[in-house]
Symmetry: C2
Subunit: 197 residues, 2 copies
DNA sequence: TTCATTTTGTAGCGATCGTTACAAAATGGA
DNA sequence: TCCATTTTGTAACGATCGCTACAAAATGAA
């Protein structure tokens, strides 16, 4: 057959992901990607058609490895509300571990890339729909567990949580302060239609 | 004296602002700025030291001409809650007038520029503090008018509103749909500690 | 009218951008 | 062993990047 590749594709995508995540699409050069992945440009272009195509693959990778992973890890916990809280906490836990905070590749891309880039837009839609559905499921379980009021409109509250999540992510890059962010999330959780005991 | 300038500085800043707002800092070239302002690069560099310095001036311009203007226009209305609602509405009204939606230059910059760029960070802080204070004042007036409960912690709710605003702005670029955004703002307003009648 | 001063337009600087041509290197199959 | 196939490293392509040198143009002061 052919000469074997020196790198596994998931590793390349993960390393490229971190660069795009931190510096954005326009702010990331192919030279930078070469350095981060350890591949030369010719190898990168051999696997991916262009910087744009690599970015599309990275976006898919992010949705599975970061978004879906966090959904599975937190939003499927037995205690739905506690899981939701931990999901938000983990968001800025993750951020404050990094230097500097990088928010969320989906939100970054939403604000950076042109709205006329329909392929990227569709990927963002998919990633955020994943989150919205996971929020809705989580809230539904909280209703069934008697944590939230029975008349809670889970779909609408899921959209509200998605909105708050994006707000937390933007805020975390401006005020990377754990206490402040935790207080903000307190407010988000308290706004939910909690079941009164 | 000297040869007079063909352009007024505020006009130049406004035009440059629209370009940075839409395409980001890295995504905006000096050629693009020349075209948008009608000035040549030599004229731009004669007034501003660098692209970075021009961006800093543009950010100041944005804080005064867009942020402060909207605060004065909406958040100082006699009916504090109605003004607050109109402030949020105006945010995505403004967005849907544009092709494509451009969110907010402060949020865009927060997610794009490096956290180590302390000068830009300080400007973002200033702009967002302006908004937070205006929200707090607005809520305080709503409390005094009996629209919100007397025990409302206006400062915390102001931060919450700032969070929701950023969320709305991100969402508006992904789903530039007026009805959906209006429903989201319904949720934000309903979450406030309204005085029960 | 001459001069000092600032803005303007032209033209292009070196550096970096995304991308590619090409041949050497590394494999399994024949 | 030789071949077909794919990856790799080297080197560089034309285009564009942020930026600037330089002189002509346009003003008020002397």
């Amino acid at each position: 057959m052919a000469r074997p590749s020196r790198f596994r594709e998931p590793d390349v995508l993960t390393r490229a992901m971190l660069v795009f995540w931190q510096h954005g699409f326009a702010g990331t050069s192919v030279r930078h990607l070469e350095q981060a992945t350890g591949l030369t440009a010719s190898s990168l272009y051999n696997r991916f058609d262009s910087k744009e195509a690599l970015f599309a693959s990275v976006l898919d990778h992010y949705i599975v490895k970061v978004v879906q992973w966090r959904i599975d890890r937190y939003l499927r916990a037995d205690d739905a509300l506690a899981g939701l809280r931990r999901f938000f906490d983990s968001t800025y836990d993750y951020i404050s571990e990094q230097r500097p905070p990088m928010a969320c590749l989906l939100a970054n891309t939403a604000l950076e890339k042109s709205a006329s880039d329909h392929a990227v837009r569709a990927q963002l839609d998919r990633g955020l729909a994943l989150l919205e559905d996971a929020f809705a499921d989580c809230l539904q379980r909280a209703v069934q567990a008697g944590q939230l009021r029975a008349d809670c409109d889970c779909r609408r509250w899921a959209r509200h949580l998605l909105l708050c999540l994006q707000g937390v992510l933007v805020d975390s890059t401006i005020h990377p302060d754990h206490a402040r962010l935790s207080e903000l999330v307190d407010g988000v959780m308290a706004a939910l239609p909690l079941q009164q005991h």
